[in-house]
Symmetry: C2
Amino acid sequence: MAVNLSAPDPASLLAVPGVELGFAAAGIRKANRRDLMLMRLAPGAVVAGVFTQNSFAAAPVQICRAHLAASATCRALVVNAGNANCGTGEAGLRNARRTCDAVARLLDCAPAEVLPFSTGVILEHLPVERIEQALPACIGTLGPDRWGDAAEAIMTTDTVSKGASCRVSVGGREVTVTGIAKGVGMLQPDMATMLAFVATDADVAPAILGHLAKEVADGSFNRVTVDGDTSTNDSFVLIATGQTPGASVSAIDSEAYVALRDAVLRVAVSLAQSIARDGEGATKFITVEVQGAREEGEALRVARSIANSPLVKTAFFASDPNLGRLLMAVGNAGIADLDVGRVNLWLGDVQVIEQGGRAAAYGEEDGARVMRADEITVHVHLGRGVAATTVWTCDFSYDYVKINAEYRT
Amino acid sequence: MAVNLSAPDPASLLAVPGVELGFAAAGIRKANRRDLMLMRLAPGAVVAGVFTQNSFAAAPVQICRAHLAASATCRALVVNAGNANCGTGEAGLRNARRTCDAVARLLDCAPAEVLPFSTGVILEHLPVERIEQALPACIGTLGPDRWGDAAEAIMTTDTVSKGASCRVSVGGREVTVTGIAKGVGMLQPDMATMLAFVATDADVAPAILGHLAKEVADGSFNRVTVDGDTSTNDSFVLIATGQTPGASVSAIDSEAYVALRDAVLRVAVSLAQSIARDGEGATKFITVEVQGAREEGEALRVARSIANSPLVKTAFFASDPNLGRLLMAVGNAGIADLDVGRVNLWLGDVQVIEQGGRAAAYGEEDGARVMRADEITVHVHLGRGVAATTVWTCDFSYDYVKINAEYRT
């Protein structure tokens, strides 16, 4: 069902010096399916993370936060699919720690240098013994060119694996940025949900990496929505191995920072868009651009009000240029003093709302033409200021209901 | 598709002294369908209204607000189905005023004593001539016992008409409270959307009536949700004809006020629940009760996060006791300092979440038993305070997508 998205050619996912990847079938939820992934980092790698805002943060998310606070260094990430280890109380925290302990023993590092991630069913206990048993086999497969395999091993109900890669010059040295992600939006928290791992061999100071991770998340993963449901396990981790020492980033907004940021953002946006393209039941990929807001948060509220409206999304599914629903969604964004007479809205290249009402030149057939495409842009200008944002989403089809109603049957 | 809901027996909708109702087929959107309703009020009636918070408030909503501000008295309400007169700019305001002018001429009152309401497609101009032409016939049918016909005339995609009635003693005199509503939730703004009219023959001072209308709306219509989309035309109007003079309400929270409020609330809650029961594609009626919140707004955020989550709603449709989705929705309500270890949750009489995790005694079969019913209560206790609220909603089925994707085809 993914919209104009296929799995990345494994050869296109460039190795990042200092990163090795391995995988195994641990039988966590299904037999004979790769569901365990290990990422080993060379000594000296630094890591920053951005995690879910859901109050019920899963046990591995809590342990990640604790380990990132306790240790300046990171030697490994361990990821399981099939079980979210969320809503599992103290036992869940113990199981996440036990996973880290097992990895630390095998890789000869401290447990706090291991970050755990889980994705899958909520409220069931993690079968940690199966992970412990599968770890040696997982380590046996470690290699620098396994990004494609790693992307497959972290999938849950994703229909295609997701990865992206690019090269960029930082401080006069060429470095690589490669990332993988899983998730079909925020719309399936019981196979929860979005995980993304992006690595570079640039040399980035830890405080700067944290700033970069936040900035990239805001410009990529935080601008994807499928139904507004935020999962309990969302995690984005940015890794800098520092294996190309001249490629140093030592100040925010320096030339090197900007170059690296743009490269990481390019990879992250590609991954984020992949998530919307593979949204459950998606038949269309929708880009919502909002301009003319007073500040970016306001633009984001309008964009999300459009992107999350089931009425707008079913209209896209039906290829129905149902203008009233777009107008309703803009008006429903909670901007108290919005002057609707200054609002203009385009569907692709066709203006449908002009100064708050139906555009004089608009003809239904123009809207229908745009709606028939499988990639559609909605462009709103609020006429209030200069702030802007873009959000990516998908439509809302019968298959969304089918997938989510029948998932456990 | 409505869940345990049938049209009210016309005889059960009690006449309210001072209120007459009429209807006609004006051909606004479809031929030979009653789509125009007029409510004539005896001199001395006072009226209060609560209207949509959507920035794109429809032209009739804007005129209602202006007329309520300009005139202390109200002699008529005129309602058309089939066209929302929203997003129609100056022409829309002119057409709404023209409708009021026509009614005022025929009933010999001031235009500001007429309140206009429209429901239907957004962004199309109102065929005001057809309304003008049909008004004499509409007036010819005026009578006190036509509440059932009136309820039918304001329907759009409602599958059954909605009305409720009760008697109550106010100041030692028995009065009647009768109301009608249309809408299938907030989920179809292009047939937009919720209209509710409730009348009583009690004698209520205008300032007190405004307070009563707000209090009743907060306890009834503002606690229904289908998908979180707020329409451009939502209106709730409360009418007190004062035809039973001894039944006077002259102070907020007086005994007479409380008696009348409880009666009006009973009618309004019945109408509000009817809206959720007739939600588009609904197969189940869901009650979400939240207790133990610090303040009511917090309880409402949690209740709406559950009631609006497409994942929770598809699980109800599938009768799947998918606990993780409920936990996700509670955690997603934006309560920054929520201690998840104090959260308990019941599905019907079955505790599924205990201190933030899966209840020890919970068995999947217990949850499945509750989920098979067509009326289900979710009860959440946050363990933070004493505030509480209740929200009513419906599930999310294939037919929701079908109705909203195929509506205009």
